[in-house]
Point group: C2
Chain length 241, copies 2
């Protein structure tokens, strides 16, 4: 019978080994990938015994699965909250920016109560997607496609003259840029010769939002390039689709 409140449910104060293992695994996976990190590495970093990992999560895959289970819910919940708020913005351009921001911000900040948990988990997802992890592929398709579709549709509503497929492409580029920024932030610092800090999440968010909003507003491909393109090409009224 489940009559122990201090076991798994409440009890915010408890030096739980299970949590330490999860945190250590998340950190190591997000830096070195799944296959490159051994169960022993994780146990060592968590100050635990290798057998303890098997006890709590059965397999290494189970550990990865639990990391996803822990983060996906809160992150997507936060995204939907922000998306609902963004939908209520009246000005079309402001709304588009709010939608993009609603997608980007939780990837950097949301997640559990751990500091930097959101960015770490997103970096983990980036690394896993590059690694082609099979365990993760299912979770991604199951958990994130709903969110993606919701954002694509919302953006499409504020940019009706752009075909949905092109919004899919540009949203895809957004995710790639997001991932890459979290995976290799030092590249920004290096190429800007110290002028910009790739690890500054606040700046990264603003740059990413600004660039993405502009890319979303680009004229679609099937629309022939306007003759006087040096000027305004954001709002095109003669849409054929």
């Amino acid at each position: 019978m489940a009559q122990k409140p201090a076991s798994k449910q409440a009890a915010s104060r408890k030096p739980n080994m299970r949590e330490a293992i999860l945190a250590a695994a998340e950190e190591l996976f997000s830096i070195n990938g799944f296959t490159a990190v051994s169960v022993r590495d994780i146990a060592l970093a968590a100050g635990a015994n290798p057998g303890s990992v098997t006890y709590h999560f059965k397999t290494k895959d189970g550990l990865l699965l639990e990391i996803y289970r822990r983060h996906c819910g809160p992150m997507n919940h936060r995204r939907f909250e922000l998306l609902e708020a963004a939908r209520r913005v009246r000005d079309l351009q402001d709304r588009l920016e709010a939608i993009v921001r609603a997608y980007v911000v939780p990837a950097f900040t949301s997640g559990s109560d751990l500091a930097g948990g959101g960015a770490r988990f997103t970096r983990l997802r980036a690394v896993m997607s590059a690694e082609g992890n099979e365990v993760v592929r299912k979770i991604i398709a199951q958990t994130f496609d709903d969110t993606s579709h919701a954002f694509i549709d919302a953006i499409h509503e504020s940019l009706p003259h752009i075909p949905r497929d092109e919004i899919v492409w540009r949203g895809h580029f957004l995710l790639g840029a997001l991932y890459y920024t979290l995976v290799t932030p030092e590249r920004v610092s290096r190429l800007s010769r110290g002028g910009a800090d790739g690890s500054d999440a606040g700046n990264a968010i603003e740059q990413l939002v600004r660039a993405t909003v502009a890319s979303m507003q680009a004229p679609p491909l099937d629309q022939p390039e306007p003759a006087n393109k040096r000027g305004r090409h954001v709002h095109a009224d003669h849409s054929r689709a």
Copy 2:
């Protein structure tokens, strides 16, 4: 090229095992990452003996190194060729697009004479950067930073009113989008419900160029979207932090 059936040794005119090993390793690394692929996997895929890999490349790292050495030269050479041609385009907007295209196209098509060699090598670089491979990190910084700076400067010349650091950010986003498209093309197909094919390199290039040109032209952050300058942008907020 090779019309012999799926046998490993019979009928060998000049099999050039070294090339077969390189090709197999490149393919496997670009899909599964470096650590996840064993020397025996590579040897099996190449129809070679594991010891042959050691003979030709000494270590597994040496094999990866040779893959990079083989592709970096031609790819960056092609990029510089296209960049020089792009610089001569008179119209500023056309020039910007030509520059972006000069960066993107070789990533998909250039490389050796092998079909799809360029895209495969770029996908390999994407996977390696996500894996944080130490062997690769040096080559990247040494070989690609020159190219990146050249393109950043060229773009900056055609967009002088945008701070260089912001161009660095947007170029960084471009590379992330490029990588992610090569790593996970099926995501585009899935989210567009079959309307777009993420594996269609031609379409991917056009979408990427169009989106990137627009993102590059976005007003800089310190300049909160003036309505009088270029492109019609409805005023955005400056309240968010």
